[in-house]
Each structure stands twice: as structure tokens, then as C-alpha cells.
Symmetry: C2
Subunit: 332 residues, 2 copies
DNA sequence: TTCCTCACTGCATGCGTTTGCAGGAGACTG
DNA sequence: CAGTCTCCTGCAAACGCATGCAGTGAGGAA
């Protein structure tokens, strides 16, 4: 550990023959400095390898330029995609992402959010986890803008970016019905999630509109092993559904695996399958999963702009649910 | 924006009737405080919702408790897994992960690393990107420990955690040969990566040991579309390989898709396929990909302990390459 | 009682910046 | 040439906390 002494603005100032203030101003866009000193300072800074200490700046200005991101699991490929997009979009705006993993138990989330607040983050994005209103209050008290990503809260206070999940469920139902299927089942995600409730509500609405009822229902909790068990239970009988709406693609892969590999059923011959999200692998020929596409890019763009507006003091209201589309592949 | 004034240790001190120092000590494990004042302080802190400002502490102590993680792409499922594991492991140690996305061009990495340094991170993990030795120097000059994850540098100076990629390549070759295949091809990853070089070296060694040469070789750059094109080129002829070692699972999925869906070849009937990594989806029946397993958990554990040792001032040398194993499924 | 020890506490300083304020130096006008 | 303006610069005071140092008091030993 050749711990070279840290170089501060003072070192640069001395070398350039100016004051610390001058150095600071050179690195502060929009500050008043003459070109002459700017050059001297930049030269000295470069020679010494100086870069302003973001943390010190953060203390003084109160803006840390870091955004906390809470995310529960990364095994559902939708979230890595989102994380990548989010991080890139925020980096473009001069922010960076501090990641916090949280199993989706509520307690855990509270705890994690507290930890984040310790870092004086400028904003907080909660991806697919719920926030108690108590916690929301604490955040607001700290002056930290929060936006919920792909989940909304019953209490309407919070900023939330979601797709039009109800419409998505409706599209799924309509499509399966248009295929002539009549014994239609649903494998649900986690019932604590607004996405699940909305998707299912839209789906049921579609069934009702066609005079159909739900033929079977099982719970998958948005987890792969659970979804596979759900599929096994649902298809344990000869009188099984001829179509299933699975609440997200990730589970749908597991369901399709069970149907084809364990039960010898053909998709879509014996049973049509439709998912939700349109993760990249849904397009892979091995699955070729028909699904309801969430526009991840639009969701991210919306999230970032809402968050930044709020950070800059603009009062913002939750944007309208983002449109979803049916992507027809061969599974339905 | 009801920007409530931020509550500082001074507020707590006043309410508890003690000095700021006392408050600070209560929140500093191992400091000398009487139980009586500790209780008073904790009470006041809780009542006010006070939590120490990590950034202010960081300035003073020089330890920010944040670890920078540079990662190029998240679409290869190996990395989300790693990110999740890393973040969890570090959180357990009281650290948090600041994410930086970098396309894998070298310039970009330099730039990104500079940005990270601005945050006074306590350590840096570079996942699958290379670090120029110039940059490495800058990090060392800043006193920031760096560890390369799943990539090593020619210059032996840097701490690097890798699997035994050479052995992995060797295992892949041996397995294909044991299957009686003779026209064996290779779809390579990015040639700038040490992983690629080592895997291929081991693979070639295995072929040579059996008196075989490489039947065909194409470049996939660790990217899905490139890998598919590579597969198309390689199988454009009736006289195509009867086995292929693909440099990672992610590309292998694409290759398998091309073989089965576009070219009507059967796997492993017409061509045996073996990948590298053992990402979760390799086990999915739709692919059932035989592969060389990298122990992500062990890699992460090793990375974290090496990094923390270095942070705590212990001189550390690169750990030995971690063992890999052949996971036999049905694709080979 | 007196002295010493020890556990605790407060004071004051410093970490590396930004920024309001006031002063200095030109540049320009008349 | 004096006066005014503009532009730039340095000073010093924050930001919220940790920590060495000196000082307080209580308790024990003699």
C-alpha cells in the first residue's frame, strides 16, 4: 500500500499559483473564471492527476449525484435489462446508481431504504418492491424523491411508473379467445404486487366479455420453481386447460418446460401459452413465446425524467400507465 | 417540496442533553460511552429519525463504504447473477455497490474508472473489462484497491479472480472427443479477453492430445447476433462440424437456435454443443446445454475476500484459478 | 481523609469542497 | 484624466461528522 497522499484542490491551487476558490470554479460549470487561469488550473490539475472529490462537494451542496436503486431479484431477465437501461440513462445525466438488493419481504425493504438514506442519495428508485406509507413519509421528510418502478401503491401519494397492466391482461385474454380457446387458465405472480392484480383484473374482464370463466388458477409468485409446481398441479388432470396466461415471461418459460418436457404436451397444439414482459429470451426460437410487451425503454425514460424533475423541485404527478402491445409468436 | 431541515448530530445532542461527540460515539462501534448516555442518545435519535450521514463520515475517515463495480453488459445472464451475489456479499460486510456500465471499448473503461475514483470508492471491481496498466497506476496512486473479475491482465501486477479457463477448455475438448466426434469446431468469444485465450488454449491442447486439429473456427465476440452469424457461416456447408465448443453459454443458446430452427439440424444428433459458464438457463429443458460450470459463488466469495483484505491493508496476491467442472446435459 | 485510577465527556480542529462578499484591475465612456 | 462598470479573484465561513486531548467525577486503596 503505497498510499500516496491524496491530492486536493489546494495542491492544484499552489501549483497553478491561484486560490482554492479558483480551482473550484474551474471545475464548476457556469462559474466565472478567466480563460487564462482556467488553463493554468487545468494544466496543474492534469499534471497532478487531480479530480474534485465528489463526496466533499456532496456535503456542501447537498447533492450527491447518486441514485439509490432497490431491486429484489435479478434472475428474472426483465430486471437486468432495466438496470442496464437505468444506469445508462442516469449516467448520461451525471448520476450514478447505488444498488441495493432486497428480498421482497416488506421488513427487508424498510431496512434497506434506511440504509440508502444514509448515503444522502438524491433520489430513489424502487423496482418491483412495495414501500410502506410510513417509509414513504420518512423519505419525504429527508427530502428524497422516490419513484416506484413497475409497481404502484394503493395510497395514491407516491410517484409510480407502470405499464398498462390491466390492458395487457385484457389483450392476453382477447388473443387466447380469438384463437378459439375456451378452457383458459391463469398462473398468477405474487399477489402482493399491483402488477399481478391489474394484469389479472384485465384478464378476467376479457374472459367475462366473452362469456367465459376462469378454468383454472394457480399461484406462481413470480418465482420459477413455484411456477413449475403450479403448472404441474394445473395439468395433473386429463381435463386440463387448453390455454394459459402466465403473469410474466420468466414463469412462462418454466411452465412451457413442464408442459413440453415433463408432460409431453405440445405448445401451442395442446395448450396455448402467453406471457408478459417480452424479455429478450422470449424471442428465442426455443421458446418463441407470445407475450405482452412492456416497453422497458419507455418505462426507464419516463422514470428518469420524472425522478429528475422531482429532484429539481418540479412538482410531478404519476405519469399515465405506459402502453403495452401484443407480440405474437408461436406459443399462442 | 416540504424540504424539512436535515437533522444532524447536533440536534440529537441538544435533545439528549449531551455533546455532538457523545452522539458520534454512540454510533461508532467500539467507542467509549456509558450505557446511560447511550440510551438517552439512541432515544433522541430515534425520536428525531436521525441517522449518521455516511458521506460526512466518509470525508473524515476516508472510508466511503462503497465499492465501484464496472460491468459491460448485462444481457449475458452470467453477470446479473454475479452482480446479485456480489451486492449481497458486500452488503453483508457493510459495503454497497455503485454500478457503472461500460461498453467494452478500452477508452470507455478508462473514462468510467476516472468517474468512479471521484466517488472515493474504497475498492473497485472490474467485471469482464480490461484495465490498462496506466489506469491501474492511477488507481494505485489513489490508494484504491482493484480486482479484476473473470478477466486477467498480462501485466501480472493486478489482482484477478478467474476460473481455470484453460482446464475448462480442456474438459470441453476431452468430452467432445470421448463422444467420438472428430470434426470439431470452435466459436470464439472476444479475442481481447483472457478468458477467450485461455479457454481456447486448453481446448486446442485437448484436441492435439487426441491427434485432432480444429475443424472450423469462427468469431462470436461474446455477443449473441455475432454468434448466430458465426454459426451460419460455420454450417453453410454440408461438410460441417459434428461438434462445437462455444466460448460461453450465452452464445451457445444462439448457436443452438440457428442449428435447430434455421438449419434443421439436431442437437446433439447432428452436432454436439458445449458451452461455458453454466448460467441458470443452461439447465432449462429447452436447451439442456452441456457446459463447463464456473462457480459464480466461489468467484464472488473469493473476490470479496481478496478486495476486503486489500482494503484493510493486507498485501494480497491473485488467488489460484478456481476449479471448473463439466456439467453433462443433453446437448453433448 | 487523600491520592490515584479509570471510565467517561466536551472542546476544538480538520476532512475537501463550494460560495457570498468585497476588493482589485482593467476597459470603456465622456 | 476621472469615473463607472464589468469581470475576475481571494477570503473565510460553512457542510456533518470523528477524534486527540484535557478535564470531570466517582470509586477504590491506603
Amino acid at each position: 500500500m503505497t498510499t500516496t497522499r491524496k491530492i486536493t484542490s489546494l495542491d492544484v491551487a499552489k501549483r497553478a499559483g491561484v486560490s482554492r476558490s479558483a480551482v473550484s470554479r474551474v471545475f464548476t460549470p457556469g462559474a466565472s473564471v478567466s480563460e487564462r487561469t482556467a488553463i493554468k488550473v487545468r494544466e496543474a490539475a492534469h499534471a497532478l492527476g487531480y479530480r474534485p472529490n465528489v463526496l466533499a462537494r456532496a456535503m456542501l451542496t447537498g447533492k450527491s449525484k447518486i441514485i439509490g436503486l432497490v431491486v429484489a431479484y435479478l434472475d428474472n431477465h426483465f430486471y437486468p435489462t432495466v438496470l442496464e437501461l437505468l444506469s445508462e440513462a442516469l449516467e448520461r445525466e451525471g448520476y450514478h446508481v447505488l444498488v441495493f438488493m432486497a428480498a421482497h419481504s416488506a421488513d427487508d425493504v424498510e431496512d434497506v431504504v434506511s440504509q440508502i438514506l444514509d448515503y444522502q442519495v438524491d433520489g430513489l428508485i424502487l423496482a418491483s418492491v412495495a414501500l410502506s406509507s410510513d417509509m414513504a413519509d420518512r423519505c419525504r421528510a429527508s427530502g428524497v424523491p422516490v419513484v416506484l418502478f413497475n409497481r404502484k401503491l394503493e395510497a395514491e401519494g407516491e410517484l409510480a411508473v407502470v405499464s398498462d397492466n390491466r390492458m395487457g391482461g385484457r389483450l392476453a385474454a382477447d388473443h387466447l379467445i380469438s384463437l378459439g380457446r375456451t378452457r383458459i387458465g391463469h398462473i398468477a405472480g405474487w399477489e402482493g404486487a399491483s402488477t399481478q392484480r391489474d394484469r389479472e383484473a384485465g384478464f378476467m374482464e376479457g374472459l367475462r366479455a366473452a362469456g367465459l370463466g376462469l378454468f383454472a388458477r394457480e399461484l406462481g409468485d413470480y418465482r420459477l420453481p413455484r411456477a413449475k409446481e403450479a403448472a404441474r398441479r394445473m395439468f395433473d388432470t386429463p381435463d386440463h386447460p387448453d390455454a394459459v396466461f402466465v403473469a410474466n415471461d420468466y414463469m412462462a418459460f418454466g411452465v412451457m418446460d413442464v408442459l413440453r418436457s415433463e408432460l409431453g404436451l405440445s405448445v401451442p397444439g395442446d395448450v396455448a401459452l402467453i406471457g408478459f414482459d417480452d424479455v429478450p429470451s422470449a424471442a428465442w426460437p426455443a421458446y418463441s413465446l407470445t407475450t405482452i410487451k412492456q416497453d422497458a425503454e419507455a418505462m426507464v425514460t419516463t422514470t428518469v425524467s420524472a425522478l429528475l424533475s422531482e429532484i429539481n423541485g418540479t412538482e410531478v404527478t404519476s405519469p399515465a400507465p405506459l402502453p403495452v402491445t401484443l407480440v405474437r409468436r408461436t406459443s399462442a
